[in-house]
């Protein structure tokens, strides 16, 4: 809720200043940030894509030109050069900014339902389907004309009129 409030204040501030909200000026890593070792750089890009830019709207630090995003990108690269593993660097950033900074939410109590949702939904659907199929095999196929009670009454009325007209 606080992020929501901050976002609102931010938006209102921008609106007052006569600027549209959310200028998506994308930039990402600048030429001077790129590491010489292509393998390390590759890892840096992969790590950055999973880290959220905290002052932007739905951008990873790899997509953003905000100063904070740049700081984080530089930090990630410094740590990589110092020889830390990907997990250690991620843990370091999470320790500073919380789980919110990760675009791939960690698997824990809070996110069990999230990560489990595809399997749960698929399983529930498959189970429902199985039960429905089994039940319908037991039921003999209905061969009644597909008429609602009203329609049947209507039909009888018309037929009745006809027969009375004929007689």
């Amino acid at each position: 809720m606080r992020a929501f409030a901050i976002a609102l204040t931010f938006a209102a501030g921008l609106a007052l200043a006569g600027i549209a909200t959310a200028p998506p000026a994308q930039a990402g890593p600048q030429p001077d940030e790129i590491l010489d070792d292509p393998e390390l750089e590759q890892r840096a890009r992969a790590l950055s894509a999973n880290l959220r830019c905290l002052v932007c709207q739905n951008q990873s630090i790899d997509d953003s030109d905000a100063p904070l995003a740049r700081d984080l990108r530089v930090l990630v690269r410094e740590r990589l050069v110092e020889g830390y593993s990907d997990d250690e660097i991620e843990a370091f950033v999470v320790a500073r900014y919380g789980d919110f900074v990760l675009f791939r939410p960690p698997f824990n109590v809070n996110t069990v339902l999230l990560w489990g949702s595809p399997i749960l939904v698929f399983g529930a659907g498959a189970l429902g389907l199985f039960l429905a199929l089994r039940r319908r095999r037991d039921v003999a196929p209905s061969v009644t004309a597909d008429l609602t009670p009203q329609e049947r009454a209507e039909l009888e009325r018309i037929l009745g009129e006809k027969s009375s007209g004929n007689s």
């Binding site: 809720m1 549209a20 959310a22 000026a25 990402g28 030429p31 894509a49 709207q57 999230l114």
Partner: protein, 699 residues
Amino acid sequence: MRSRRRGSGSTGIRRPARNERIRGRADGIGRGGQLLIEAGHFALALALGLSVIQMVVPFWGARTNDPVLMGVGAPAAIGVFALVLFSFGVLTYAYVTSDFSLMNVYANSHSQKPMIYKVTGVWGNHEGSMLLWILILALFGALVAIARNAVPPKLRANTIAVQGSVTIAFLLFMLLTSNPFERIDPAPFEGRDLNPILQDIGLAIHPPLLYIGYVGFSITFAFAMAALIEGKIDAVWARAVRPWTLGAWLFLTLGISMGSYWAYYELGWGGWWFWDPVENASLLPWILGTALIHSTVVMEKRDALKIWTILLAILTFSLSLMGTFLVRSGVLTSVHAFAVDPDRGVYILAILVFFIGGSLALFAWRAPLLRQGGIFAPVSREGALVVNNLFLATACATVLIGTLYPLALEAVTGAKISVGPPFFNATFVPLMVPLLLLLPFGQVMAWKRGDMNGVAQRLAGAILISVVLTVIIYGFTYGGPVAAPLGVGLGIFLIVGSFNEIVTRSFTSGSGFRDAMRKARGLPRSTWGTVTAHAGVGVMVIGIAATAWSTERIVTMRPGDVQHVGGAYSVRLDSVFPRTGPNFQEDVARMTVFRGDRAIGQEETSKRFFPARNMPTTQAGLHTVGFSQVYLSFGEPQPDGSLGLRLYYKPLILLIWIGTLFMGLGAGIAMSDRRFRVGAPVRAKRDESASGTAPAPAE
């Protein structure tokens, strides 16, 4: 009017000179124009009144079985459309003439803006886009009213009534919270301009396409509600609904595709799908709409899956409404947040609760009355389509949960998490791959009871071709990403497997080629539609898989420098210079693209600055070679005087959007199937020709 203008004169003592010009401007537009705008405003109120009639009278007529009352629905729906169209025309007129006495025009337009963006600016903002939404809603109501395919009169009356109720809700919403005809006094001399991101032809036509898709599902919803009200649903219903569903799906497909291509070239780093909440909001009804198209086939052909189809129709439109809510309320802040305003969110939420809650309640109450129809074996075309629905529904639920989970979690526990592209890629892709792998198998399966051996025989050729091609591609790209050739192979399997249906259904042993061609031409349009759309999915999958081969380079260049981009392509920076556009200034980098040593073209990429909004945008330079693109993006000028640039080589990237075009084309072909048109119009024509020039059919 007159007294208002006098009022503006008295308040403007501080700056008389400017005020004179304002008055001059207002006089220039003239009282006729001002009156027109009030008339446009009034037309909306009239439309609200008329849509109440559209809802109540035909509904009552259907209940009491009164053909006269039921007949009121059609002219009322057409009337509502005419009124809203007039109102929309007036707002467009206000934009074209830059009438800044309208708050909406002032906030979103500029007298120096190119004419095309003055027009598209009408829906480049909240109020205007709501008016467009309502216009399309009314248009669909009118189309149902005039459509002459065989729909039972009661079903038609109830459908028009339900459509009327949706129109009422949105007209009320607009008149109460987002009136585009709100005035400001005194009228400012110049507008604040349209958000420059929206000043792009791609994003200009994106919303109308998307809205036709969203709102098109309102018809399916209205039909579902009508079926529940009547307590009756059958193959006739499915046949009546299918063209509408296909049409809505077609436009939603094109709308999403357009938005994706826009993001690709406008946001400046060559991504094409970001799993942004607002993108998800449009993807959700698309996924469920896809499921709906498939389940109505089962219902039409085999009279099964009735209750499920009704539920899908309800949920698809509910997700469309929710998409509107998510975008318009600003609940989820994202790059599309030009519509941030939580007050309106409350109203939309009320609409949402009313329609989703109401329809689901009606569903729970009436659905048990619907009789289940034909039975089928698990291994059959029906079974395959059920599996399709299972996968699509799960994918839809996953994206929905992923989009809303952070909001829910924060509300419940206060914990803040982000759910971004890595989550969606990790869950959505594993659901789609098996679905797409099974697709060609389902397509050749027989109705009612299929047999695996027959299916395997009919698909053997397609499987062989796909496997061989995959191995060849793998060999040629050895050392590259493994997922790419596998993905391309899947795409090939989808294309070959789709056309396999045409081949197996027209070529029979013993008959000649010409005979087979004749047979292929004689296949129903819906079959050709299916094949085209499924092949389109294959084309798209190839484009997506090929993104794994794309390369990116982040460089600094001075004029004269040459840089390798990727593949056989390199670029030379020719010059960097400033330029002035109609309502912006830009810095332009002109570059020459080389293949090997040969220059193959010149492209420009620029950074634009819009002073009225104090905002920059990046214009990418795209050089297309076949289905591949060299993508050049203007970066930051460096302290040492060189220019930062991003250079991408995107092999086969265009196949992503070409594939969606084929999907849309397939839906269009299927829509034109003659069985959706048979009935009233055919007979009417024959009657006319038989009775010569008789003005009215004899009683």
